[in-house]
Symmetry: C2
Subunit: 326 residues, 2 copies
């Protein structure tokens, strides 16, 4: 990208105007064919050019890349995002964050990627993470608490992202247990909480957050169309990802401080207020093959979903997939 | 160690006899000083030499190194130890095993080191792991179970090692909750269970096992003398580490199969039979600063220690340090 950067420099000197291929060729001491190749490389990176014979190239738009400097300015947090790693393409921000956590990275370290080639979803699924279109990030937490309390953090993460999305877009986002975000009953965000423990003590948690921000319907593979949506599709406008990341970090920090000082109860209340699951008939399947059918009644003190079985029993469910019956 | 290996070859051709420095110098085409340096390197690795002026060097003893080939022959298991990584010196076999587990290493993968330079104990402590004197190893498990059941594996590991030690040495080893092994009320083994989870599902567990095998009293730093002991100190004889590792793996495999097919109850019964904690007045401190005082009464279905509080209440304790009052 050394040559690509110089090419960008030329266009930044000629905003909105055409620059001839010959002029670029001369400035960079490369052939006309090499100029064309460099332009195409930039197109692949999300830059758009108008090319007109005898006039040359004009830069029409830049990609909406996440800029670390702009993000740092936007953050306004003291801990969350206090250490940043912004990557172009990576296999999975969860794996990047885990490696950092094992190396001793502090609480609040945030890993962001423009693209994930092996993005991970819950229950071993893949997470569709195309370049430049979403917020794919992983946050390191080091809560001083026993392992059995981690389901509470799963719910806290859902509340944080839901509040940020609502504030940024005005969309009526709701939480499907445990922490999927839905708009118009379609998924716009998935959250994956991974944890590492020594016996019963949490060493660290990694909160993976995937928000489908500026995807168009045609960006989705067929199997996701109708199931997934994006903030852009739902709101009709492009959303600034840098500002969205900052908003999520602000909400996360506020809620995490509340959680550390006052415990889980206020988080549970906020979760219940944003839930689209409570009061619904649900079927929950977990990866061990167990199924629970009943009515989602509330959140337990430990962070489990309480399911009314219809026979007076209330069963706590910690993990699984919810199917809402309507 | 290329030259060291050739030096070893020379001594293996002259068992029990002296080889002159001049002869070695000639054979390896190195200076007399270089020979002396090579001899010292081997001494550091645990070889012992007698050096007599005008006669040369005689190898007195070889280190009792763990030999992968001999171990594979001794194992007799189908899963535990089916993949082996035997290291000379490493920071921590837990870290090595974790890296392998993240790379997809299968259940039963075993990492062994002759020496750990940063051996880890429970509750953030260090574990003294000098070269060639102990069994320092980490076993990867991938149990298909929820996170809340991992305390059961902590106890299972203690039972497996205790049974292996008893069979190999005849020593009256007992388990201090949760899984320290004591002989003559001094510690001979520590076990550390680390786990990685995705939400409530265990991705893998790493069982770290440190057995002080052939340490002499003088091998211990002052702060461990009187607190720690070794199989050699307690039994009066050197124990074959390769055979001991094989014995632990056999016991582990048997118990793990029992656990996977019949659940925790039979493991709990075996643990209770080997326990030196049950029936004792105990104080248990955890890392959050909580303390519980009472009489250790039994093991709960979830794997917690049940403590009789003396007022009719029985409290389950999952993690902490036990102090036995006598």
């Amino acid at each position: 990208m050394k040559k690509g950067e110089t090419l960008l420099h030329i266009f930044s000197q000629h905003p909105e105007t055409f620059v001839s291929g010959e002029e670029i060729s001369r400035s960079l001491s490369i052939s006309r064919t090499a100029v064309w190749k460099q332009i195409n490389k930039l197109r692949e990176a999300g830059y758009e050019f108008e090319a007109v014979p005898h006039k040359g190239y004009r830069m029409v738009s830049k990609p909406d890349a996440i800029q670390p400097v702009a993000l740092i300015q936007a953050l306004g947090t003291s801990m969350m995002g206090s250490r940043l790693k912004v990557l172009g393409s990576t296999t999975s921000t969860q794996d990047e964050a885990r490696a950092l956590a094992e190396d001793g990275a502090p609480e609040g370290t945030l890993v962001i990627a423009e693209e994930q080639t092996g993005g991970k979803g819950r229950l071993g699924r893949k997470w569709f993470s195309p370049a430049g279109k979403g917020v794919w990030m992983s946050l390191i937490l080091r809560p001083n608490q026993p392992l059995q309390d981690t389901p509470q953090l799963t719910l806290l993460a859902g509340v944080a992202v839901c509040r940020a999305v609502r504030k940024m877009t005005g969309l009526d986002a709701g939480i499907k247990w445990p922490n999927d975000l839905l708009v118009d009953r379609r998924k716009i965000c998935g959250i994956l909480l991974e944890s590492a423990a020594e016996e019963e003590h949490v060493r660290y948690c990694i909160v993976g957050i995937g928000i489908s921000v500026n995807l168009d319907e045609t960006d989705y593979p067929p199997e996701l169309q109708g199931v997934a949506t994006s903030l852009k599709i739902a709101s009709g406008t492009t959303v600034d990802r840098t500002q969205l990341i900052a908003a999520v970090m602000v909400e996360f920090e506020t809620l995490y401080e509340l959680y550390c000082s006052q415990g889980f109860q206020p988080i549970a209340s906020l979760w219940e207020a944003l839930s689209v699951t409570l009061g619904e008939s649900v079927t929950i399947k977990n990866i061990y093959g167990d199924e629970v059918h009943g009515v989602a009644a509330g959140i337990s003190a430990a962070g489990a979903l309480l399911v009314d079985m219809g026979d007076g029993r209330q069963v706590p469910v910690f993990s699984g997939d919810v199917e809402l019956k309507r």
